[in-house]
């Protein structure tokens, strides 16, 4: 079972993901948690006992702590966790920085859910 933490300032990301992964959720293949800021995401990770199979999906462009700053934090505090960055801007600068900070993957918005499903479930 893969635990996925989705970080995005848009609240409707939660119903979107829960519906997209409805079948997988019913089959207990995956479990989702949602954070609406980098800060919230870190607080959530701090509260977890078990870090197995945690994948973080984070939007890059958020007010406050940006996705890239969050990426840096996670990689330094929880190096075993995998972080994938999601962005609407699709520019090289963010891509380079994300890779530099050790991102494990890069997704463009709008998210291709069939591709995402494969990526998550194959982990």
């Amino acid at each position: 079972m893969v635990f996925v933490l989705v970080v995005d300032d848009e609240e409707d990301v939660k119903p979107l993901f829960l519906q997209r992964f409805r079948r997988e959720l019913k089959k207990n293949l995956v479990k989702f948690d949602f954070a609406y800021s980098g800060r919230q995401a870190l607080d959530h990770l701090n509260s977890l006992d078990d870090m197995d199979c945690v994948l973080i999906l984070s939007d890059i462009n958020m007010p406050g702590m940006s996705g890239l700053d969050l990426l840096k934090e996670i990689k330094s505090t929880y190096p075993a966790l995998r972080v994938m960055m999601v962005t609407a801007y699709g520019d090289d600068d963010n891509y380079k920085k994300a890779m530099e900070y050790g991102a494990d993957g890069f997704l463009n918005k709008p998210v291709d859910f069939s591709h995402l499903k494969k990526t998550i479930l194959e982990s």
Partner: protein, 345 residues
């Protein structure tokens, strides 16, 4: 006078046979006086003619200069109008980028939820297939999700709509009509647009936004596309300053822009604060001057704050002040009268 006098004297002299020497001396003196008077008169007349000519010439020159100055003034006015348009276009350009990003998100949700809804309807059809026993619970769950999805589609559609409306308002050049407007909504909208506009221009840009919106603020009459430009301009400057300080500040510097709204007597106050570079003492008095800018040439026309000032003070009867400390940050204080611009203002 001279002739009359002479005639009188001749008459007198012809009656007498002897001309007393004093009388002759007297007549001679008068003759000399009049001769010198005559030559002075001629000189005066001549110099008057000259002056008069010079005056006509001087007058002609002045009229010519006046014409030249008038045409220069017209040119300068046209140039200023052009620059105001340019400044509008420039801010529109960066707004467009911000808006394009802002619209992507709601559109993304609309497409996703519409797609999901199609799938859900297929499931409903499967559930309603004759022969199979109707799983009421499953049906209700699916219909519930469908309802939620449609609500979300409507919500994000309205969101995109208001983003576009806001953009149209901004680009409309005509003098705007005064309408009662919610200040908190307007500030929030342009706070977001300014933020995304700056992100679009500079991918390294990142600033925290803090909001302290007053409650129960009355709607106030204003020209929203003008006042929105005020907020956009000042908030953009605040974001710029806060972000700029990252170049020189230490690791624990957290660039922040704070907006606060509240009522103060007959005015609504909007405060826009940043903890950025601050404004040096020697520049503070100039910031509202037209064409004054501290940004590099292709980054600012220098008209933003002077137009902003005009909109607040002349256009709305408000006040615009600032407090700043170099190296620490700046706060702009905008005050707008709740009653709007006085009818005779």
């Amino acid at each position: 006078m001279h002739r009359l006098l002479k005639r009188q004297i001749k008459k007198h002299v012809s009656r007498e046979q002897v001309v007393p020497p004093e009388l002759e001396k007297f007549v001679r003196a008068i003759d000399e006086a009049y001769a010198s008077y005559d030559s002075d008169r001629v000189m005066l007349e001549r110099s008057l003619e000259l002056s008069s000519g010079e005056l006509v010439e001087a007058n002609r020159e002045l009229r010519e200069q006046k014409r030249e100055l008038e045409s220069s003034l017209t040119q300068v006015r046209e140039m200023k109008d052009q620059m105001v348009i340019q400044e509008k276009m420039a801010s529109l350009g960066s707004l467009t980028a911000g808006i394009a990003h802002e619209i992507k998100n709601p559109l993304n949700f609309i497409n996703n939820f519409a797609d999901l809804s199609r799938e859900l309807i297929e499931e409903v059809n499967e559930l309603l297939e004759p022969g199979a026993e109707l799983d009421r619970e499953e049906l209700d769950e699916t219909l519930g999700l469908l309802t939620e999805n449609l609500q979300k589609i409507a919500h994000h559609g309205a969101r995109a709509d208001s983003i576009v409306k806001g953009m149209l308002l901004h680009s409309r050049g005509k003098a705007g009509t005064r309408v009662d407007t919610d200040v908190n909504d307007l500030v929030e909208e342009y706070l977001n647009l300014a933020y995304h506009g700056m992100r679009a221009k500079d991918t390294s840009f990142n600033v925290s936004l803090e909001r302290n919106y007053g409650e129960d603020l009355p709607m106030i009459p204003m020209v929203p596309q003008d006042v929105s430009r005020v907020f956009l301009n000042i908030i953009s400057n605040a974001c710029y300053a806060a972000n700029k300080k990252r170049e020189t500040a230490g690791g624990d510097y957290s660039p922040t822009v704070t907006v606060t709204t509240r009522i103060d007597g007959a005015m609504i106050e909007v405060l826009i604060s940043d903890n950025g570079t601050g404004i040096p003492k020697d520049i503070v008095d100039k910031v509202f001057n037209p064409f004054f800018t501290t940004k590099p040439p292709n980054e600012g026309t220098g008209l933003g704050l002077s137009i902003t000032y005009d909109i607040v003070v002349e256009g709305h009867g408000g006040t615009l002040d600032l407090e700043t400390k170099e190296g620490e940050g700046t706060t702009f204080l905008i005050k707008l009268p709740i009653q709007g611009l006085a009818a005779n203002g």
